[in-house]
Structure formats: structure tokens, C-alpha cells
């Protein structure tokens, strides 16, 4: 008999707790459920309410991580700070803080913070250091020294990183000025230099035919037609010089676009050399 009473008592207590769907414990349960379902915005609402009643480092971390996963990186970075001290997960929080700053795209802020060294996580110094060097491949800042740069990455990836470094430092651009100068010497040559061979040949033919027509008409004393074709010839000659410079600019933009894409997909594929987050 006493055993039964205890059991039903327990049931009552448990259910009375459960019955209040909005008690802080219920919020925690439901929040965790949403968090693992990747329903991060809703989970953050539940965690916010829960944290008003009880302090819990893991939940603080998850609360910040909700913003990180949603892509609200600056809010995430601010919230990760709440578990920077006297916490068992302080290194994880600090790493997550640097990750947030890195993915916010404000690489200057990220680099300044990592140079300050106040919040650096002892356990994850290598990871933050790698992110630091990776950030130089992603914006237009002056690249640091090769040695430090490449040695920050694992041995198996050093070759790829070296290639990226060289491509970033010495991009395979085509000079718009050279293209324009070449086209001014021989119409279309600038486009051939950029790689648009058939466009170059067309420019050469168009300006050539117009020049021929101008000369031919002058020879036959058709001065109006002669001047007309001269004008047209000059117009297309100038257009071809301009177009060659434009083609080189487009080529360069393409090189930059492809490089940025390659870097992004390379690092994304390797999760930026970061450990999995199990919290």
C-alpha cells in the first residue's frame, strides 16, 4: 500500500509539472526538442524564457548557437560571451565566438579580436589560427608571410593551401591596358590575347572591310562614301580598343569569382578545419 501511494504521488507530481506546458522546465524540454529539430528561432524563444528562471551554461551556449545557425552571427557572438568565464564549456564558447565573427564576413573585426588574444580558447588555438589565415584568402587584405601561413594547416592540405596562396598573391589576370594597346596595333589582337578568339577575328574583319571600302571609294573619287566608311571604320576601331579593355576586365572579374568560389567550396568541404560541435 505505501508503495502504491508513493507511485501515484510521483505520477501526480510529475504530471502536475508536465501539465503546465509553460513552466520553465517544460520550456527547456520543448526548447531542446526544437533545437534538435533545427527549428532554431523557436528554440531560441523557449531558451530565452527558460534562462529567466534557471542558469545553465549548456543552454546559454545553445541559445547563442541558435543565432549562429540562423546566420545572425553578431548576436551569436555577443551571446557566446556569456559563457566565457567559470564555465566547463568556456573553450567551446570562445571558439564559437570566433567562428561567429569569421562567418559574419567582417574579417577585420575577426582579425582584430584574434590579435587581441583576450578571448582566445586555449584548447582551440590552432583552429582559430587557421581561421585567421583563411580569412586572408577571403578578402583583399595584404597577405601575411608564406611560412606562417602554410604551416598553420595540416600536412596533407599544405599543397592546396600553397596553391591558393600563390593564386591570391599572383592572380592570372590579363591587363586591360595591354589588351587595349594590342588592339590599337592590330584590331582584334587584344581580344585574342584575352582569349575571345572569334570576337577578335570579327573585329579585325569589320575594321578591315570598312578600311578597304573607304580606300576603294576614295580611289574611285566617291569622297562622300569614302568619308562615311572612314567614319564608320574609325568608330569600330575605337569600339574594338574599348571592347578589348572591357573583355580583359570581365576576364579578371571571372578569375576572381572562380578563385573565391574555389576557396569557399574547398574550406566548406573541410568544415574550415573546425571540430564538430556536439553541444
Amino acid at each position: 500500500m505505501p508503495m502504491i501511494i508513493t507511485y501515484s504521488d510521483m505520477l501526480c507530481q510529475d504530471s502536475s509539472k508536465d501539465l503546465d506546458l509553460f513552466s520553465y522546465k517544460s520550456r527547456l524540454k520543448f526548447g531542446n526538442h526544437l533545437y534538435f529539430e533545427k527549428d532554431y528561432l523557436r528554440a531560441s524563444y523557449e531558451f530565452r524564457e527558460y534562462l529567466k528562471y534557471e542558469d545553465n551554461d549548456t543552454i546559454r551556449f545553445r541559445f547563442a548557437n541558435c543565432f549562429y545557425n540562423i546566420g545572425r552571427y553578431i548576436e551569436a557572438a555577443d551571446n557566446f560571451k556569456s559563457t566565457f568565464y567559470n564555465s566547463t564549456i568556456q573553450d567551446e564558447s570562445r571558439l564559437a565566438y570566433f567562428k561567429s565573427l569569421f562567418f559574419s564576413g567582417d574579417f577585420n573585426l575577426f582579425r582584430n579580436s584574434s590579435r587581441n588574444e583576450i578571448y582566445l580558447p586555449e584548447k582551440y588555438l590552432t583552429e582559430v589560427n587557421r581561421l585567421y589565415f583563411t580569412s586572408f584568402l577571403m578578402d583583399n587584405s595584404v597577405l601575411p608571410d608564406t611560412g606562417n601561413f602554410i604551416s598553420a594547416f595540416p600536412d596533407s592540405n599544405k599543397n592546396d593551401i600553397r596553391n591558393f596562396y600563390i593564386q591570391k598573391k599572383f592572380p592570372q589576370y590579363k591587363s586591360p591596358t595591354t589588351a587595349a594597346l594590342l588592339s590599337s596595333v592590330i584590331p582584334g589582337l587584344g581580344k585574342i590575347y584575352v582569349g575571345n578568339i572569334t570576337d577578335g577575328l570579327t573585329s579585325f574583319l569589320v575594321t578591315g572591310v570598312l578600311t578597304f571600302l573607304a580606300i576603294d571609294n576614295f580611289k574611285h573619287k566617291h569622297s562622300f562614301r569614302g568619308w562615311l566608311f572612314t567614319g564608320l571604320g574609325a568608330f569600330f576601331y575605337a569600339g574594338n580598343i574599348y571592347g578589348s579593355a572591357a573583355a580583359a576586365t570581365i576576364f579578371n572579374a571571372g578569375v576572381k569569382f572562380n578563385f573565391d568560389n574555389d576557396v569557399k567550396s574547398y574550406f566548406e568541404k573541410r568544415n574550415y578545419f573546425l571540430p564538430e560541435n556536439n553541444l
Binding site: 502504491i4 505520477l11 504530471s15 506546458l21 526538442h33
Partner: protein
Amino acid sequence: MMKKFLCKLIFYFLVSLVSVQAQNEFSSQFDYANTLFKTGNYFDAITEYKRLIFFDSTKTYYYRPYFQIGICYKAGAKFDEAIKYFSISELNSSDDLERFDSKIEIVRCNILRGTTSRAHQLLNEMELKYTGNNSKDSINYWRGWAYMFEDDWTSAAASFAKINPNHELKLICDRVEKEKVSVTFATVISYILPGAGQIYTGNFLSGLLSLGWNVLSAYLTINAFNADRIFDGIAILTLIWQRFYRGNIQNAEEFAKSKNIDIANSALINLQKQFRGAKP
């Protein structure tokens, strides 16, 4: 023996008391979610339906909240999610009526999403399964809507006629079909008389200008050939006449198609705004 029985009785009584209390809590949670839903607060309503589903271990509130989540997503035009939740509600349904409702909602989402072929596929499957008169009417009704969204007003009229030969929507479909112009006719008359197709579709100025260009370039071409200026004749023929003749036919076809789409769209917008019956 008696003591044991009494103990059991008290235990069951307490358990049922708890479960009744829980039921009340769940029903008030369901009401709360419904209030949010009714005030158009769909995002928050989904949160509350999800909360109910999460805590309702008795599974009493399973079909309805899932169904409601589907409706919320549909209201936010998030049809992929809506369809997922209607499918889950269908799996949690307890009778044929609930299953039918979920399926119809999936069909409606497909119509709105523009994936009408999927809507037709689902309706065909449903037709084999549900043979009652009401179900048949409902299936034909939504089939009609799917056809309207496909711009196939003849088939839509036929579907609505199966429900009732004088169905309001059938009459609307007939009217739209009658209003539409024939794309083939517009193109063919433009081959015969340039500009005629444009005039037929109501673009008088464009038609007259087309006719003007064609007459002028034909005159210049024939004139050049007559005067033995063969090169000029060929140049005018290929560079001017052919260009405007082809342009006139292209225009006639495009104008006719565009006019038909305008007619269909004005009918659809009218239905969206004025029609009182069930809409996707």
C-alpha cells in the same frame, strides 16, 4: 484480496484523474493555438501546435494540430512545408473523412504551388479510392480548379459540369473560353494579309504600321527588280521585307497568346477576389 482490489481502484482513479487534468490542459492549449491561428498569427500558432504535439503523449491531439500546421504554412505560401504536414496529418488520421480532408489540402497546395500535374495525379488516385457522391463532387471540383490554373478552361468546364451542368464555375469557364481569340487564326491571316492578325487581336495601330511597312518594302523590292537593280532588290527583300513580314507573324502570335493570358488572368483574379465558394 479486498485490500488489493481497493488499492488498484484508488490507483486507477488517481491515474484517470491525472489524465483528465492533462486532457483539459491539452484542450486549452489547442484552443490557445487556434486563437493565434484565427488572429492570423500563423508563425506563433505553429509553435503552439508543435508544443501541444510534443507534450501530448496520449496522441489525442495529433491529427488536428498537424493539419492546422499545414494550414498555417499554406497561409504563409510555404507549400512544401504545408504538404509535408498535411501528409503527416494524413498518417495520423483516424477515419476516412480525415484522410480525405488531408489529401484534398495537399491537392489545393499543389494547385497554388503551380504543380497541377501532381494535383491531377493525386485526384486520379483518390477517384479510385473514394466512390461516394460527395467525394466525387469534391474531386471534380478541385480538378476543375487545377485545370483553370493550367489555363485549360474547356476541361475545367467539363469537370464542373460533372457536379452540376449549370455550376457557377462551369458557366464562368465557358465564358472565358468564348472570349479567347484563336492563336492559329491570328497567325494564318497574318500570313495572308500582313497586319491582319494584330488587328484581329485588337492592336489596330501596330497592325496598320505592319501593313504599311510590308506594302512599302514590297513596292521597293518590286520596283528595284523592275528597274533591273537586282542587288538592291535582293537587299531590300532580305533586309527589310522579310524582316517585317516575319515580325508581323510573330507579333500576331504573341499578341494573341498574350491577349488570351490577359483574359484568363482577369478571370482568375476575379475568382480570387469575388468568388464566394471554396478556393484553393
